[in-house]
């Protein structure tokens, strides 16, 4: 099943398919390790619902839903 | 006026002049005039003053 990262529910794991963003945001997402093939685990949402916290490549990263929406994912594990 | 009074006047004026000139000198040299004396850990100014110091040491 494919969806964007911001639609993930807590505890879901997926593989990055593509990053659809422009300029600096895309650059930053790549630098932080969100590249095609990376495994991402959705850890939690902040108390106010946004941003989200994910685990990838062995560390924890936080990003906003609006940025997570740029990441196309394939769900691998519920 | 007693000797001590003269000494205290001289000391005070020297002190004030000293503090003011040291600031002016710092500013002219382009160092930040923050009061950390340039050895506070997070002041970016440390960088330059430390370089000068180490050069003198060697």
């Amino acid at each position: 099943m494919n969806k964007t990262l911001d639609q993930f529910s807590i505890g879901e794991t997926g593989i990055v398919k593509a990053v659809i963003a422009e300029g600096k945001i895309k650059r930053r997402l790549f630098d932080m390790g969100i590249t095609p093939g990376a495994e991402v685990f959705m850890r939690k949402r902040a108390p106010l619902g946004d941003p989200i916290e994910i685990t990838l490549r062995g560390y924890e990263l936080t990003l906003r839903k609006s940025e997570a929406a740029c990441v196309n994912m394939e769900v691998t594990d519920k | 006026m007693s000797v001590w009074e003269i000494i205290s006047i001289v000391a005070c004026s020297l002190f004030v002049i000293g503090v003011i000139t040291s600031r002016v000198v710092k500013r002219i040299k382009g160092k930040p005039t923050c009061d950390c004396g340039c050895d506070c850990a997070h002041c970016s100014g440390c960088y330059h003053s430390k370089v000068d110091k180490t050069k003198k040491d060697n």
């Binding site: 930053r28 590249t35 939690k44 916290e53 062995g58 990003l63 | 007693s2 923050c34 850990a41 997070h42």
Partner: protein
């Protein structure tokens, strides 16, 4: 001297290593982006001394924020002799991403596997030798914190710095390899340094590179037209980033053997995180932590136990003499933490410092001067001009250190980054990212490093807005104003509660900051809300060594300031208040004829709407002097009070005893001010509010100028500071004095808000039509 540079991801331990190598005490913290400027020191255990340069952390060599540009430029253009690439071994994959880029430069590289002790403790293993073979450069496992492996690392680095290295890339397997090679050859012909590195960045469409290599760029463009990748199309950035990570996963991942772990088992860090960022409790816990910090520092009545249980006071116990002095030393010791209520730790330390140390020391010094054969004016100069000012300032040292200790714990434990995570959504409403929270909380310590730290913000407008509101987060030097004035209000008028007034003022500053950011982001600094993509560090127990280093630093800074600029200022103020324009010496009682009085009376009417102007009568100008002296350093406000209070005491005939220095020195000074001028409570609060939000000290103004880097916006900033503090002061004073003025202010605010909303809407329509 050879230059060895420390480069690596943010929060991987570069500064810790720097401190260990050079014996420095540079500021470290457990959040990404503590170091925002390069810094250097000397390492002396290699055959010849080498310079060590600590750089801000970077995730890649394509910079995103101003402080990352510093790192990149240093590595590329300052010709370091060797790069020590510090890698967080608990997070090898992402850290090696930067390594693959550093290897593309022609600079010798040594990889330092930091935090190897944590990896081993987790039961994981890293094959250092295999990693070394794959990377083609020396790899050394170290622990910067425990100072292990440092000698070996430095010896390797020193060795490497003497050999020539040529850049290598991991991208040889990608379809772009040929293009990169062609560009590299072209750049080599132009004698460009680090040709391989620049070639790859050009292919990546790095905007900085496209500007610096204008001749080569068209050639790259030409080639790109014919290129098409199956998966990524023409997205060159994606191909390269993907190539790097693929190579890392394929070749380096095998060098790590992870212990089989029960996935469900939570580490202590996970457990802490679960509570601290809880969906419902996250925000209440954060508020509670903030309250606890202030309560532990300022509360006279710890946990409100005194109010709840109604403990007897020392007086009721018959332990005080008729003058209100303790009957013996034991009682004096007891009084440091008990007087009908139990003092919080901060206040306890404060009492020990002031009642037992500062009070006695300065009392003794003052007595010595008093008993000498000096004439009256010399005694006045030394006692009132110098000693009182210093004592008043130094008496606040424990308060500042206690508060700072708690903030250091926040910073070092990893909680601070989580607060940014929790608050991001709220910050976004104000047009900022959660990242802006870090410099703001640093502002509670000192505005100067806080303003420098805004370099970690990627967006220029966000930076400007943040720099402008940082002074509203009341810094350590403003704390004496708060506590002294609040204390005097309570003692003199017998109303309220000093620590509540203090909290209230901190809150007022925060509210003012939020309102100003909202105002700026919807008028002069309009723009998109900046993105928020940040690494969250793991929690760990704060390092005692680090905490002490932070405190030592803060204390040294404060004391140094007291003994230089503050003494100089009080001497000048004493002189100006004891001489007339005719250069004649004046007695304390004649203070109103002094130069200082004449000049300040001229400015005095300006502050009338704020409550400490003309209405205060003939002695009201002392508040003006304090405000102006505060522009040099905020500690001066209280030092000035202490110096001038001595004269006012002579005028109003208030008797403090031999010398007006005792435990609550600043508070006494403010009391005599109140007596002499008849200033009201709202005006006093307005005075605190004005000082808290007005133009900050010289040092902070200088920093703001440097950080804003634009003359126009700097002038705007000065004006903004003055206007906002003036409005806030006037609001506090008028509302406090005449309650019905609340309606006028509400109306004024409503009209402003509506005006802005209307204008913005109107403009938007206009833009859409275009």
């Amino acid at each position: 001297m050879k230059k060895i540079v420390l480069a690596g991801n943010p929060n991987c331990g570069k500064t810790t290593l720097f401190n260990s190598l050079t014996g420095s005490t540079a500021h470290v913290g457990n959040w990404p982006g503590v170091t925002v400027d390069k810094r250097d020191g000397v390492y002396k255990k290699t055959p010849e001394n080498v310079a060590i340069i600590d750089l801000p952390g970077i995730y890649s060599l394509s910079p995103y924020t101003p402080e990352e540009i510093i790192s990149r430029n240093y590595i590329l253009y300052e010709k370091p002799d060797c790069i020590i690439n510090i890698v967080d071994s608990t997070n090898l994959e992402r850290n090696l991403y930067l390594t693959t880029q550093l290897l593309e430069t022609d600079v010798p590289v040594v990889v330092a596997l930091n935090m190897i002790d944590v990896v081993n403790k987790n039961g994981d293993k890293i094959d250092v030798k295999a990693l070394e073979d794959k990377l083609g450069v020396p790899v050394v496992a170290i622990s910067a914190l425990k100072e292990k492996g440092l000698k070996e690392l430095m010896d390797k680095a020193y060795e490497e710095s003497r050999v020539v290295r040529e850049g290598t890339t991991v991208l040889t397997d990608t379809p772009l390899a040929r293009l990169i090679d062609d560009v590299k050859t072209a750049l080599k012909k132009q004698n460009v340094e680090n040709p391989l590195f620049h070639a790859i960045k050009l292919v990546e469409n790095d905007s900085m590179e496209l500007n610096t290599h204008k001749e080569t760029a068209p050639m790259v463009e030409e080639f790109k037209k014919t290129f098409e990748d199956n998966t990524f199309g023409k997205d060159f950035e994606a191909i390269i980033a993907d190539g790097r990570y693929k190579y890392i996963s394929k070749n380096f991942a095998q060098t790590v053997t992870k212990k089989e772990k029960d996935k469900l088992k939570m580490t202590p860090s996970d457990k802490a995180d679960k509570v601290l960022t809880h969906k419902i409790w996250g925000i209440p816990i954060f508020l509670l932590v903030l309250f606890a910090i202030f309560h532990l520092t300022f509360a006279e009545d710890f946990l409100y136990l005194g109010a709840i249980f109604n403990f007897p006071t020392l007086e009721e116990l018959g332990l005080l003499t008729e003058d209100g002095e303790p009957i013996n030393f034991g009682v004096q010791l007891l009084s440091t933490f008990y007087d009908g209520q139990i003092a919080s730790p901060g206040i306890f330390i404060d009492h020990i410092w002031n009642d037992l140390i500062i009070g006695n020391l300065f009392g003794w010094l003052g007595g010595l001067v008093e008993d000498s054969s000096l004439s009256q004016w010399a005694i006045g100069l030394i006692n009132n001009g110098i000693l009182e000012g210093i004592a008043a300032v130094l008496s606040f040292l424990p308060c500042i250190l206690t508060l700072f200790l708690f903030f250091s714990i926040l910073e070092d434990s990893g909680y601070m980054a989580r607060i940014a995570f929790i608050l991001d959504k709220m910050f976004r409403r104000f047009g900022l990212s959660g990242r802006a929270f870090m410099p703001m909380i640093m502002g509670f310590g000192c505005s100067v490093p806080a303003m420098i730290n805004t370099r970690t913000l990627a967006d220029d407008k966000e930076r400007t807005a943040t720099v402008r509101v940082i002074p509203f987060f009341s810094c350590g030097a403003k704390l004496p104003i708060l506590t002294a004035v609040a204390g005097a209000i309570v003692v003199y008028f017998g109303v309220g509660n000093a620590d509540l007034i203090t909290y209230g003022m901190y809150l007022l500053g925060i509210v003012a900051a939020i309102a100003s950011v909202l105002l700026m982001r919807s008028t002069s600094l309009k723009g998109e809300t900046p993105p928020f993509i940040m690494e969250l560090p793991s929690y760990h127990t704060p390092q005692f060594k680090n905490l002490m280093a932070h405190l030592w630093d803060k204390g040294k800074h404060f004391v140094k300031k007291a003994f230089t600029i503050i003494i100089a200022s009080t001497i000048v103020i004493w002189l100006l208040s004891h001489f007339s324009f005719a250069w004649q010496f004046l007695e304390d009682e004649q203070i109103n004829d002094s130069i200082l009085a004449d000049v300040s009376k001229f400015v005095q009417p300006l502050f009338t709407p704020l409550g400490f102007g003309s209405q205060l009568g003939q002695y009201g100008w002392v508040f003006v002097v304090a405000v102006v002296a505060g522009l040099i350093a905020k500690e001066n406000v209280i030092a000035t009070f202490a110096t001038l209070a001595a004269c006012l005491t002579a005028v109003v005939g208030m008797d403090f005893g031999e010398l007006a220095i005792d435990a609550e020195d600043g508070i006494d000074a403010v009391q005599s001010m109140i007596m002499a001028t008849g200033i009201t409570i709202p005006a006093l609060i307005s005075f605190i509010a004005f000082n808290m939000t007005t133009i900050p000290c010289f040092a902070a103004v200088g920093t703001a100028k440097a950080e804003l880097g634009n003359k126009k916006s700097f002038k705007g900033t000065l004006l903004f500071w003055f206007l906002s503090s003036y409005i806030i002061g006037a609001m506090v004073y008028t509302v406090g004095s005449w309650w019905w003025t609340t309606f006028i202010w509400t109306l004024a605010i409503a009209i402003t808000v509506m005006g802005i909303v209307f204008r913005n809407k109107h403009n938007k329509v206009g833009r859409n039509q275009l």
